[in-house]
């Protein structure tokens, strides 16, 4: 991202009027708009979309500015807009839908125990700690310091708290010193389920989708600080929509 992007006139900074993202989902084949088309996985029925100005995203990008070729890990679903946004800026983007992975993992585990008479040993293998460790052994397998940036979105609100804690410790290892994390936290227990995609340098699109997991926890600032204690700094932005944005620097 260069000087022009800083001024808001660089590549990828489309003016609001020219934005090709649909405000509501009229149909799913919008490819005539080129690579700025909003696309996404999982056939989750979108119940509505809205956009929000994101100061944390702006700061997140500011911190990545001048990095040249960076690496980004997106723990949300793979959206074309988000991928294109970062790829156009020279990033190598890795996308892994952690919540989807967790629900798939839970379903598999439940299937394994269907019809089984569980022994004490089986119960011991089904504690939140053991399950979280097992899940992380199969997922998020990346080398230490292999990413410059991480998009965590609001998944911590939905992950089982033990897994959330272990996952943050795990991703901290995967980030390079100076790496940056963008996370969102709901100030109140969310009733719906939302997915996020990057529209431009300051705007996120919020897609209301069918819940795949219920919300688990509302984090207080102190808990967030404890969770990200391996980071040098934290900056948070309180929005009017009960959504706190947080930026962490390693």
């Amino acid at each position: 991202m260069g000087f022009l992007n800083k001024l808001g006139i660089g590549a990828g900074h489309a003016p609001r009027q020219a934005r090709s993202l649909p405000e509501s989902r009229a149909g799913h084949n919008n490819s005539h708009h080129g690579n700025a088309v909003a696309t996404g996985p999982h056939k989750e029925p979108e119940l509505g979309t809205s956009t929000r100005v994101s100061n944390a995203l702006k700061d997140f990008l500011w911190n990545l500015d001048g990095l040249g070729r960076g690496t980004l890990l997106d723990l949300g679903p793979a959206w074309q807009t988000t991928l294109s946004f970062f790829i156009e800026r020279g990033f190598r983007v890795t996308s892994e839908d952690l919540l989807r992975g967790w629900t798939d993992f839970q379903a598999k585990e439940a299937q394994k125990s269907t019809g089984m008479v569980l022994t004490a040993d089986d119960y011991a293998e089904r504690t939140p700690e053991v399950l979280a460790k097992k899940f992380l052994d199969d997922n998020l397998q990346y080398a230490r310091s292999s990413f410059d940036a991480l998009l965590l979105w609001d998944i911590l609100d939905y992950l089982e708290p033990t897994l959330g804690k272990m996952m943050v410790a795990h991703v901290t290892e995967m980030l390079r010193p100076g790496g940056v994390v963008l996370a969102l936290f709901h100030s109140k227990k969310p009733t719906g389920f939302q997915r996020y995609r990057v529209v431009d340098t300051t705007t996120l699109q919020v897609l209301t989708a069918k819940p795949i997991v219920p919300a688990q926890k509302v984090f207080q600032n102190r808990e967030i600080q404890a969770l990200f204690s391996g980071f040098r700094s934290m900056k948070s932005y309180i929005g009017r929509d009960q959504l706190r944005e947080a930026l962490f620097l390693k």
Partner: protein
């Protein structure tokens, strides 16, 4: 950066979404010299230098390093695929590597890891797994970027230092 023709899957007449939307079935162009059609089952390793269209069942390994592979809407593929370009319109499970690009159509159900320089995903496509897109970062480049970053961090008046003072403070933003 995406080239103009790359950004729009419709520019590919043979495999473009237009033909799928019209319900004309699997479109095989003259370029697609080989075809594993519906009802054909192959288990094993497929290697070639021609474009291939799979609309049947393939289980194994597909290696088309310099060619394009299309997984048709009726296909079920469980394979480790290496191709120059990969288009997925049906069910695919495994590990997929494309040296140029991957197109995932809205009819696609993909389970596994995808690695490509460029990727396009249509709304409605189902993805379970890991996706890696963008130009590969070589070690020298990565080292250079890390050094730049370190220099940035060590600047006495850098933004990072400023933010350190804000640790733990909840800053009211104007969202």
């Amino acid at each position: 950066m995406w080239r103009k023709e790359d950004g729009n899957p419709q520019s590919d007449v043979s495999y473009g979404p237009k033909s799928a939307a019209s319900g004309s079935g699997p479109a095989v162009s003259g370029k697609a010299a080989a075809c594993v059609s519906q009802g054909i089952k192959i288990k094993g390793e497929l290697t070639g230098s021609e474009d291939l269209f799979i609309d049947g069942f393939v289980d194994g390994k597909v290696n088309l390093t310099n060619s394009m592979l299309t997984v048709g809407p009726n296909a079920t593929v469980k394979a480790e695929i290496t191709a120059r370009e990969l288009v997925v319109r049906g069910r695919a499970e495994g590990k997929f590597t494309a040296s140029e690009r991957v197109q995932i159509w809205h009819t696609a159900r993909v389970q596994g890891d995808i690695k490509a320089e460029r990727i396009s995903i249509e709304e409605g496509a189902e993805l379970h797994g890991k996706l890696e897109a963008g130009k590969p970062i070589n070690s020298a480049n990565s080292e250079a970027s890390q050094q730049t970053k370190k220099a940035e961090i060590n600047k006495p008046n850098s933004r990072v230092t400023e933010e350190k003072g804000a640790t733990g403070a909840a800053t009211a933003g104007a969202n």
